[in-house]
Amino acid sequence: MSVLEIKNLHVNVETDQGTREILRGVDLVINEGEIHAVMGPNGSGKSTLAYTIAGHPKYHVVQGEILLDGENVLAMSVDARARAGLFLAMQYPVEIPGVTITNFLRTAKTAIDGEAPAIRGWVKDVRESMSALKMDSAFAERNVNEGFSGGEKKRNEILQLELLKPKFAVLDETDSGLDVDALKIVSEGVNRAKANTGLGILLITHYTRILRYITPDFVHVFVAGRIAEQGGPELADRLEDEGYDRYLEPAAK
């Protein structure tokens, strides 16, 4: 059984105003097959956690550890982390000039598996996943994220999640900017991926809306770079009613 452990994680980011401490001691354990929702107000450090796990060079870990099945993730390059089984569905996926979705998916799958996928089965898998995500087959020949709408970009992230089959996926505000139809399609994709591979999920969101379609096992409330409270799905319901004010007030005093 796989486990992703985050221990006492402190992360700084360099800004024009100097060094800022964003994460101030985060502890989190995610087991295979579990869904953890991380919720919190803007600026609480949710996305920093996501990018730090993936290894974005902008974020500097000053203390703490991230372990995947006991292996030191922080010592791995970005691509090595992905090959080890980590996946980040990005909030703002970038456009890649000159690279078609087909070419990109095959290259990524080959990199992660260490060998090229068998052509027939792969083509069928891609087609079925695209169809389930209501993506037109013409997408396959478009360049990655080029001219995609916000909803199309998010579907493309979930397409990769389904095809690359990671052990753990971090979904960084995958729900933001989606209308209800797209939200359902994307949520179904996440649930399908979990049913198929039993992966662990760290679902980062500002809103409770997506939790109607993806049921978390645990909810963590993130405030000012740490976990302020945690509980079961009922905590999400309470946040829906009360918002984050309860957590912010003490900080304002």
Binding site: D79, G98, T100, A108, A111, N143
Partner: protein, 384 residues
């Protein structure tokens, strides 16, 4: 049809419209003394490092035969012809001093004559040109209704100014690939002049990878009804390299068609590319269909890509005319995205550049050459 928005590219803005001298009114001569010495302020030289090749524009050139190596192909005759041959000057004559200097200096012209309706491929390689400033003249002549693919390749050292005339007979289908794989110090200035007869089709491809300064300027005269040019270009500029192409298409007869597509990648400090695309649609050219585009992919800081499309239209009765120019960059966020999917850094760069340039490579129509160019592009990527 690719759009300006593709490739995540920033479209160019037209900016203030500066009337250019009508292209057809430019001065032309085969005699070097009819041109003033090049200063670098002339419009056709202002984006070029003229000081690096003053010997080619202003000095004496060795006009003796070049060393060539030719692959055998049935239906292709390669020979040397004298300056007095009637074919010389049929496709076009120089508009600037380096070309006129070469024209005034060559002893004999290399003739590559293509005949016969079967598809055939011939490669002519120039090598070992050395450090002496040299002049060359080449004529590629495709007989009426003939088909063929001619590769004109340069390797090794060179300081060369040359003219290449391409005469495409009625109904002929000709592909010409000008392939610059010179050594790092080489300087190569070339003017290509193509004249297309009725219903002739020319695919003209400029591939510039090696050389310190490489400037290949293809002009195409769509002289007769129904003639059709597909002008393609692919260039990859490394640190300190200047790769330039000034493309001119003259629509001069009814129902002529042109498609100009040049794509370039830039990598390393001082990598510099220039693309100027002039299209002139003359008053005889009713029903013209024309589109030109240039795209540049910037891989690192410290590079500069100039991209200047110009369109002049002298008749109101055309089927279509358009242009596009855009320069985009492959940046750290794109690299992060690809690496976050398990792809190694070198492979990520290769993926992007190959995808970008492959559109041109795939249109060459010779599997051997396509494969070799793909490998050459990958070698360029590794060379940084």
């Amino acid at each position: 049809m690719p759009t300006a928005e593709q490739h995540g590219f920033r479209p160019h803005t037209d900016g203030p419209i500066v009337p250019v001298q009508t292209r057809s009114e430019r001065f032309r001569s085969v005699n070097v003394d009819d041109f003033a010495q090049v200063t670098g302020r002339e419009h056709e030289w202002k984006l070029s490092p003229v000081a690096t090749f003053a010997d080619l524009t202003g000095g004496e050139l060795d006009g003796s035969r070049l060393e060539i190596e030719t692959s055998d192909a049935a239906g292709v005759e390669v020979s040397w012809i004298g300056r007095g041959d009637a074919r010389i000057g049929r496709a076009g004559i120089p508009e600037e001093r380096a070309a006129a200097n070469a024209w005034s200096s060559f002893d004999e012209a290399l003739l590559i004559a293509v005949s016969g309706e079967d598809e055939k491929v011939v490669a002519v390689t120039r090598s070992g040109l050395g450090a002496t400033p040299r002049a060359a003249h080449t004529i590629i002549e495709a007989a009426p209704n003939s088909r063929g693919l001619v590769v004109l390749r340069g390797i090794g050292d060179a300081r060369l100014s040359e003219n290449v005339e391409i005469i495409v007979g009625e109904g002929a289908l000709l592909t010409v690939v000008a392939l610059q794989e010179w050594n790092d110090d080489a300087v190569h200035l070339a003017s290509h002049f193509a004249r297309l007869d009725r219903d002739a089709f020319l695919k003209h491809i400029v591939v510039s990878l090696g050389g310190k300064v490489v400037r290949v300027n293809p002009s195409t005269h769509l002289a007769e009804q129904g003639s059709d040019i597909e002008a393609l270009g692919l260039y990859f500029a490394d640190a300190g390299q200047h790769l330039e192409q000034q493309v001119f298409v003259h629509h001069d007869a009814p129902h002529t068609r042109s498609r100009v597509t040049y794509k370039g990648a830039l990598q390393g400090q001082g990598a510099r590319t220039v693309w100027i695309g002039d299209v002139l649609i003359g008053n005889a050219a009713v029903g013209t269909d024309s589109y030109e585009q240039n795209r540049n992919l910037v891989l690192t800081d410290g590079t500069r890509a100039d991209s200047v499309p110009n369109l002049e239209i002298e008749t109101g009765d055309i089927a279509g005319a358009g242009h596009a120019s855009a320069t985009g960059r492959f940046d750290d966020e794109q690299l992060f995205y690809l690496m976050a999917r398990g792809i190694r850094e070198d492979e990520a760069r290769r993926l992007v550049v190959r995808g970008f340039l492959l559109e041109i490579v795939q249109k060459i129509g010779s599997p051997d050459l396509e494969e070799r160019l793909t490998a050459a592009i990958e070698a360029e990527l590794l060379g940084s």
